[in-house]
């Protein structure tokens, strides 16, 4: 009951805001959205606390049930999504993009949230796919309509690229799901994870795993399927970027854990080397591009590619440690990238562009609070211990060094080494940004200064900063939450 409400509330209010309530003025619309997001967060907490779930027949023709419920793997992501949902709704006070009615904008945010929540809570493979698709149109709207208003062509291009590229991925994933459904006879993720999927023959498992991995790799995104991400991030409004990085990308990695890893372990094992190499190349590749990228938003997007590379590498390693590392790095990246995108989005709003080659007064001098959070985000991004990024990446490298037994040791060790090099490159680009944006000379009094963060933006940044530090200081909380569910997957055949 509460579970259904959790999904229905943001979905219904979001739909109403984009349809019936389209004409609502900014003020009430903001309150409606924020109240909904807050209520959703409360509901999410209640659902987590009560362990509520729902299970009804929905499409008996496909053996598909309206089945939502949480376990250790989805709980952190649901909470992350609900929190980010509230933060982006609140962020509307700080930045309300032009391009359409405010109510539609807020409605799209809520719809994305609802879709993501449904994705994380779905316990049926086909339902997972449907929920996966729900976020496409609202996100497309956020990028295509409310994005950067400097270049409409680039905006349309980015939005289309996002939606079409993701559709390629999700449709491929659908094929995998359908094949799995056809061969295993059920689409219940629990049953599949409990052995219905693992009992399939090797060839089938490989085919299913290949389709699923290929499809989800686009969403994650794994190198070389990442080129939709930078334009989408560059163009999207701050709230959209935050949702994209902190929620949407997580759906990809979550899908990898839920589908190929849990349901067709043997097939996934055979693909693991490819995935590991792709993830590792992504780590190094993203970091290298960040070293020379001029646009700060694009840079953060490429750093996301690198960070997701760690997640993928950890997943590919196949060990329980790897799964734990992947889930941890996943959530951590959610918090860190959200923080960075709020800061950078704020900078873009203040400066008009975030081209790093334009000389500007150093943030440390003009707006120390903003500078501090930026530095915090960068530090977390380079994997500083005590902040969110460290644990996942350290454990990921560990997992690659010591992969599950059926995997090629030499290859994975090579990946671990490359990943460690990538982490050093991460330090280089993070400090490059810090050196250009954060540190610098006292500004010329003639030059307009950058207003420091205040009001809602400050609260949003504060919450995210606390999350980043909290995850870094107390990793045991999150790792403890996911441990049991991971052990169940890892303990499978």
């Amino acid at each position: 009951m509460v579970m259904s409400l959790l999904l229905a509330l943001p979905g219904a209010v979001g739909l109403w805001l984009v349809t019936g309530g389209r004409g609502l003025p900014v003020r009430p619309a903001r309150w409606v959205a924020a109240a909904t997001a807050a209520a959703t967060l409360v509901l999410a907490v209640v659902v987590v606390a009560l362990g509520s779930s729902v299970d009804r027949p929905w499409l008996p023709e496909l053996g598909m049930r309206w089945s939502f419920g949480l376990d250790g793997i989805s709980v952190p992501l649901v909470l992350l999504t609900a929190t980010i949902g509230l933060l982006v709704a609140a962020h509307a006070w700080a930045e309300m993009p032009t391009g359409g009615s405010p109510a539609t904008f807020l409605g799209c945010l809520l719809l994305v949230e609802a879709g993501a929540l449904a994705t994380f809570a779905a316990r049926d493979a086909v339902l997972f796919f449907v929920a996966f698709e729900v976020v496409l149109v609202p996100m497309w709207l956020l990028v295509g309509r409310y994005g950067d208003d400097h270049d409409p062509r680039a905006r349309a291009d980015a939005a289309h690229r996002f939606v079409l590229y993701t559709a390629v991925g999700s449709t491929t994933m659908l094929l995998g799901i359908l094949l799995l459904l056809a061969r295993a006879g059920t689409s219940d993720l629990r049953a599949l994870a409990d052995g219905a999927g693992g009992a399939l023959g090797g060839g089938t498992q490989l085919a299913v795993a290949a389709l699923l991995v290929l499809g989800l790799a686009v969403k994650v995104p794994v190198f070389p399927f990442h080129t939709w991400l930078p334009p989408a991030h560059t163009t999207a409004p701050t709230a959209g970027s935050v949702l994209l990085a902190a929620v949407l990308l997580k759906m990809g990695t979550y899908g990898l854990v839920r589908l190929p890893v849990a349901t067709v372990p043997d097939g996934f094992t055979r693909l693991a080397p490819v995935l590991a190499v792709a993830g590792t190349v992504g780590i190094v590749w993203g970091a290298l591009v960040c070293l020379v990228e001029r646009d700060l938003k694009r840079l953060i997007a490429y750093s996301s590619v690198a960070h997701m590379g760690f997640v993928v590498l950890a997943l590919a390693s196949g060990s329980e440690t790897g799964l734990q590392a992947a889930l941890y790095a996943n959530v951590a990246h959610g918090a860190v990238s959200a923080l960075l995108f709020v800061v950078v989005g704020g900078l873009k709003q203040r400066w008009g562009s975030v081209d790093l080659t334009v000389p500007r007064p150093a943030l440390r001098e003009t707006s120390p609070r903003l500078g501090f959070v930026l530095l915090l985000g960068l530090a977390a991004s380079l994997g500083l211990p005590g902040l969110a990024g460290f644990w996942g990446e350290f454990l990921a490298v560990y997992a690659a060094w010591d992969p599950a037994p059926e995997r090629s040791r030499a290859l994975f060790v090579a990946c671990a080494v490359a990943a460690a090099v990538g982490a050093a490159l991460a330090a280089a680009y993070a400090l490059r940004v810090a050196g250009i944006v954060w540190a610098g000379d006292r500004p010329d009094p003639e030059v307009a200064t950058t207003p420091d963060t205040s009001g809602v933006e400050r609260v949003v940044l504060g919450v995210l900063a606390v999350a980043v530090v909290g995850l870094g200081v107390a990793p045991m909380v999150l790792l403890g939450t996911t441990a049991d569910a991971v052990a169940r997957i890892g303990g499978g055949p």
Binding site: L288, V289, G435, D441, L479
Partner: protein, 626 residues
């Protein structure tokens, strides 16, 4: 619980410091107050430590890998913690004066607190993961401290360089730690040590029974020696980076761009010395791996001599101290590299202990002198010790200690122990003892020479004596305390916190002889002239440029990486993305072609299509059927 308090107090000071950074008074109170509390806890812990006591940590559930996150406290660690806390407190007190007018004092103090906490974490860590945590946090703090005056381009560059050089070296450190932990399935120090040690007793027994060497190794479950050596070499690479040893030595001299108290902290008690602590913790395994010992031994032998020579020829006295740190850290590490397995690495740790005292003294004193003289160049600092009595005494004691004059000061004693250890190593074990011993002797002479030079320059008689006014009494007090500890610190060996042998008088005699040679060489130009100008005039510019290693770093690492990055960025947009754009173009082109074909809309074409379709389909159907 005590070790957690030990780490927690400075971290709390950092958090509070950031929160209260606007209010200088409160920030000072927090920094100094909690710093003092840390020192108190550390001293108590040291005093009460009795054997090794592990404090259980919260533990992580990371799948197959056990991560207990324990801390441990024993007398040695207690002593180290105490000296770290002491130096940190001295730095905190000193900076309340030194950075009085700085608009970012709050941040500085908080960073120093965090830095202290991280170092203490490394000292008391019983878990390799926690070691990594402290290790990396120190790196970050060094970035913030060196770049504290971020309005200066040189400071920004030095901070970046310091962090990046150490971070590159940390690739090795992290991989080495991970490899070691993977071998044990745990990051707990004790758990990691066990499987990697050579089961000597078992092997000896097997060999005695007439087994072949290979069989004995297998039977006893001996670890893979090559892998162990690789992993330890990786760890050592990280340590060389953090401790500014060859080939990573160049960042530390540039780090002098930071405020002097930060330099004191980085050089004396934290960061650069941390490597010795980590290696000492890993010593049981390290001692079993001659390859790793040789690797470390060669690196530190080269470093200690090279750095000492560079120190001698620096025009800038603060940079001279920096190079002397590089050299002295190499001395500490050389003890670890050369020590016989039975002796342990405590000689190195003892030298760390004494180095912390005299180097902090020297840095804090030279910072004061530089403020009084208005610069850190040798020319500017000439005679600046006259600014206060404590400076003159401090420099005397400090340089004596640096030169390693036995019996008188703390540095002398610990260096004797290192020498003895190296000798033992050279005699007993298959490590790099001989090499280290030779390097140590040569270095001792050079060190004596540049110590003499420093003292001569600082205390030279000049007509216009610099004065320092407004220095608060506490700063005088801090320096006096350090002077006293530098003189009497040797007594620490009596506490038994460091497991070292007695040093025979013969060794002291030898040392005095070597030091005498060094002093004599330095005094060749008389008391009034800068020995560097007398002896190494040509070498000075080269030494000031750190032998041009900075250029080498840029040419060999930075430029190729940036070129590669540009290539990758190009490939990303023009190749990887090309297939995406290409598919869009292809689709549109196909659409255009299709539309073009249907443009005329002739009825006959429609009919023709139908017929063609039927024929083709029929043919295909029959083909597929047959």
């Amino acid at each position: 619980m005590t070790p957690w308090l030990l780490v927690g107090l400075p971290v709390a000071a950092a958090v509070l410091g950031v929160a209260l950074r606007r209010n200088d008074l409160l920030a000072r109170a927090v920094a100094v107050g909690l710093g003092a509390a840390t020192l108190l806890v550390a001293v108590l812990a040291w005093a009460l430590a009795d054997g090794s006591a592990v404090s259980a940590g919260p533990g992580l559930r990371a799948g197959e890998l056990a991560v207990p996150l324990d801390l441990v406290l024993d007398p040695t660690r207690g002593a180290l913690a105490a000296v770290v806390a002491l130096v940190a407190l001295a730095v905190q007190v000193y900076s309340t004066w030194y950075l009085e007018t700085d608009d970012r004092y709050g941040q500085f103090a908080a960073t120093v607190s965090l830095f202290t906490g991280a170092m203490l974490l490394v000292v008391v860590s019983a878990d390799l993961l926690l070691t990594v945590v402290g290790w990396e946090v120190m790196g970050w703090c060094s970035y913030l401290l060196i770049g504290h005056w971020s309005r200066r381009a040189a400071a920004r560059r030095a901070a970046l360089k310091a962090f990046l050089v150490t971070r590159v070296a940390d690739i090795g450190f992290v991989l080495g730690i991970i490899g070691l932990a993977a071998g044990a399935g745990s990051t707990s120090l004790s758990a990691v040590l066990a499987p990697w040690r050579r089961p000597t007793a078992c092997i000896d027994a097997a060999l005695a029974d007439g087994a072949l060497a290979g069989e004995a190794l297998t039977a006893c479950g001996a670890p893979d020696g090559a892998l162990r050596a690789t992993l330890l070499v990786l760890v050592v690479v990280g340590i060389l980076g953090k401790s500014a040893q060859v080939p990573f030595q160049d960042w530390l001299a540039d780090a002098m761009e930071g405020p002097t108290p930060a330099s004191a902290l980085i050089h004396a008690a934290t960061m650069v010395a941390a490597g010795t602590v980590v290696l000492a913790a890993l010593f049981p395994v390290f001692a079993d791996s001659p390859a790793a010992r040789w690797f470390l031994g060669v690196a530190v032998a080269v470093t200690m001599l090279l750095a000492a020579l560079l120190a001698f020829a620096q025009t800038d006295l603060k940079r001279m101290l920096a190079w002397s740190t590089v050299s002295q850290v190499a001395v500490m590490l050389s003890a670890v590299a050369a020590a016989p397995p039975a002796d342990g690495a405590d000689a190195g740790l003892l030298h760390l202990w004494s180095h912390a005292l005299f180097k902090s003294l020297l840095f804090l004193a030279i910072g004061w002198a530089a403020l009084a003289a208005g610069g850190t160049a040798a020319m500017a600092l000439r005679g600046s010790a006259a600014a206060a009595p404590v400076l003159r005494t401090g420099f005397l004691v400090g340089f004596l200690s640096l030169a390693g004059v036995p019996l008188v000061v703390v540095g002398g004693l610990s260096k004797e122990h290192v020498l003895v250890t190296a000798w033992d190593g050279a005699v007993q074990a298959d490590g790099p003892g001989v090499l280290v011993l030779v390097a140590l002797v040569l270095t001792a002479a050079v060190t004596a020479a540049y110590s003499t030079r420093g003292y001569l320059v600082l205390t030279a008689h000049v007509r216009q004596q610099p004065t320092a006014t407004g220095v608060p009494a506490v700063v005088h007090g801090v320096l006096w305390v350090l002077v006293l500890l530098t003189v009497f610190g040797s007594l620490v060996v009596l506490t038994g916190s460091f497991a070292v042998h007695q040093v025979s008088a013969l060794w002291m005699l030898l040392s005095v002889l070597v030091i005498g040679v060094g002093v004599a060489v330095a005094l060749r130009g008389g008391f009034d002239r800068d020995p560097a100008q007398v002896l190494a005039r040509r070498f000075v510019p080269v030494a000031d440029a750190g032998l041009g290693v900075d250029l080498l770093y840029r040419r060999v690492v930075a430029t190729p990486v940036l070129r590669l990055a540009r290539l990758v960025a190009f490939v990303d947009t023009e190749v990887v993305d090309a297939y995406v754009r290409g598919s869009a173009v292809a689709t549109r082109a196909a659409g255009w072609a299709g539309a073009r074909l249907h443009r005329a809309e002739r009825p006959s074409a429609a009919v023709g299509l139908v017929l063609t379709g039927v024929v083709l389909l029929g043919a295909l159907g029959v083909l597929a059927w047959s």
